[in-house]
Symmetry: C2
Subunit: 336 residues, 2 copies
């Protein structure tokens, strides 16, 4: 049974566990600083498919397949798949799970999806609804850009605040036991401070990130020093700076423990990715390629992972709406 | 704690409950056979807003507000909102909960969303993660048609297999106690038998509905005669006929207990809605306006509710993909 702590945190009394993870990327991810840590990178970002959407589906299938292999789990042993992506109608996930033939709950949390799927997977395992749950998400630079901004062929000029959507997928098998335990989760609220710039998602998400983190610190009576690392999803440079500033304004110094997946996936200078990486696949891949395996090896013992999502709609923005953000947090520990 | 029964069913040992529900619609819903049962119908389908998308947000806010009022619950008492809709990036829900300021998990299940949100709400309450959870969804004829098919102004001719997207929203407050208990849930698989016609969603969803229902009957050793009613989401005429046929082929006669929300919302002849109603809001509103209140009054004691979703993407269909379907089932009981 889970237990509520404070106004917004959920403590898992038995603690669900992350039993196995896998990350898949493409060429830019391969060439980035974490390239060697991916389970698979496929140079051709079409993944041999005829459309970018189908490529993304293929990539997500590959990530699920590898996570199941590493977890020595057959698809039939998975009680539920929790997945989503950035594409309209979340088609990368819907088509990816079609082949898998397992019960499926589709999620939409924009770039917060990996934290949302892990949160629900953990709560379903903790609550007895599933023995094994698979959390998955992906993003693809080419399918995202044309859906949210411009088709790549336009060659539109990017602003320095823009983030580069990762072509990546991460999958995590959540079960009753495993090296990494999920102790607490904090489901975020939708927070909107009025950012309307589709090319500055970091600024739209940072207030949501601070809202969730502040809630979690208040509920648990902890602070940054209690964790080895505090990792946000993909705030990238602009959003990260803003989160650090929002926290500092309330007397909380995040800097000694803080990092952001959007700043880690690429070499920003060498790879020309403006403010950094973004997309559901960014935090999913950085966690599944880097941080979670490092936890499995005992290199980190105690982390907060908080994926952030900009619930950004071209239609709503054209209608003058601002971009709401959301961030969900998980507290993960590993045995030494 | 929930308990797994058979290969795909989850039994709630304590049983979460539906404590309060509300349904909101517009003019066509008002004029339909269930019009008088809605909590609120707003003649002007713009709901006083400047865009159809904003109208849908407004409608969803209204449904949540009314459900909370009827459940004598303040927004601050809601631990989590589970919601989604048909719009890209699920913006009707994202903007609707922005005002509410409560933790939010965004879902995408197309027209299966009400069953998905109720399922997760029930499992979170059962598992101790939430005391009170709010499940909500909506659809709007005008925002949907232009996104999935054609802008209304084109005046495109509709096929007889087409369904009319409901302009409606339903919200349900799930808590530890209440008149209607959620005993079992069965999360559906993505099933795709190759239907490619965007105007024949019923046919795309029926195989998924039968897949879930067959699984549930097998897991629980029950059959149609064990329930007062078996209610599908919005298969409408084409899909309902197909579901009955698929079941009959395996020796299961659904007809004596079976009905479909898509056949109930409108007067098909008088209101010219072709094969019937569809949209997330259809089953949400038919359940929240009609069946769930009838259960609260003791008129039905034992029902299966199964919302069906066509995970239909114009982009994927243009790329030659078929339309996958999904259906989630809940077993609900009420004291006499």
């Amino acid at each position: 049974m889970a237990k509520r702590v404070g106004a917004g945190t959920i403590r898992l009394e038995k603690a669900a566990a992350i039993a196995a993870v896998a990350a898949v990327g493409s060429r830019l991810e391969q060439e980035g600083p974490l390239g060697a840590e991916f389970d698979r990178t496929v140079e051709d970002s079409s993944f041999g498919e005829k459309s970018w959407e189908k490529a993304e589906t293929k990539m997500q299938q590959l990530a699920m397949e590898l996570a199941l292999q590493k977890g020595q789990t057959a698809p039939e042993q998975v009680d539920v798949v929790l997945g989503g992506d950035l594409l309209n109608q979340c088609i990368a996930s819907a088509y990816a799970v079609r082949e898998l033939g397992r019960p499926f709950l589709g999620l939409y949390g924009a770039c917060s999806t990996m934290a949302e799927s892990l949160t629900l997977a953990a709560l379903l395992v903790e609550g007895g609804a599933a023995e094994k749950a698979l959390a998955v998400t992906s993003s693809h630079f080419c399918s995202s850009e044309r859906q949210f901004r411009f088709p790549l062929n336009y060659g539109g000029v990017r602003t320095p605040t823009a983030q580069h959507t990762a072509t990546a997928s991460g999958a995590a098998l959540v079960a009753k036991s495993g090296a990494i335990r999920i102790w607490e989760v904090c489901i975020g609220r939708v927070v909107d401070l009025g950012v309307t710039d589709l090319n500055n998602m970091g600024a739209a998400m940072a207030p949501a990130a601070w809202d969730t983190l502040r809630q979690y610190f208040a509920d648990t009576g902890t602070g940054p020093a209690d964790y080895d690392k505090i990792i946000t999803g993909d705030l990238a440079q602009v959003g990260s700076d803003l989160l650090v500033r929002l926290a500092a304004e309330e007397g909380c110094d995040l800097r000694p423990r803080y990092t952001d997946c959007g700043l880690m996936l690429y070499d920003r200078e060498g790879q020309k990715v403006d403010a950094g990486a973004s997309g559901c696949g960014c935090s999913a891949a950085v966690m599944c390629a880097h941080f979670l395996p490092a936890m499995q090896r005992g290199e980190y013992k105690n982390i907060l992972f908080m994926a952030t999502g900009a619930l950004m709609s071209p239609t709503a923005c054209q209608q003058g709406e601002s971009i709401p953000g959301v961030a969900h947090l998980l507290h993960l520990t590993a045995e030494g």
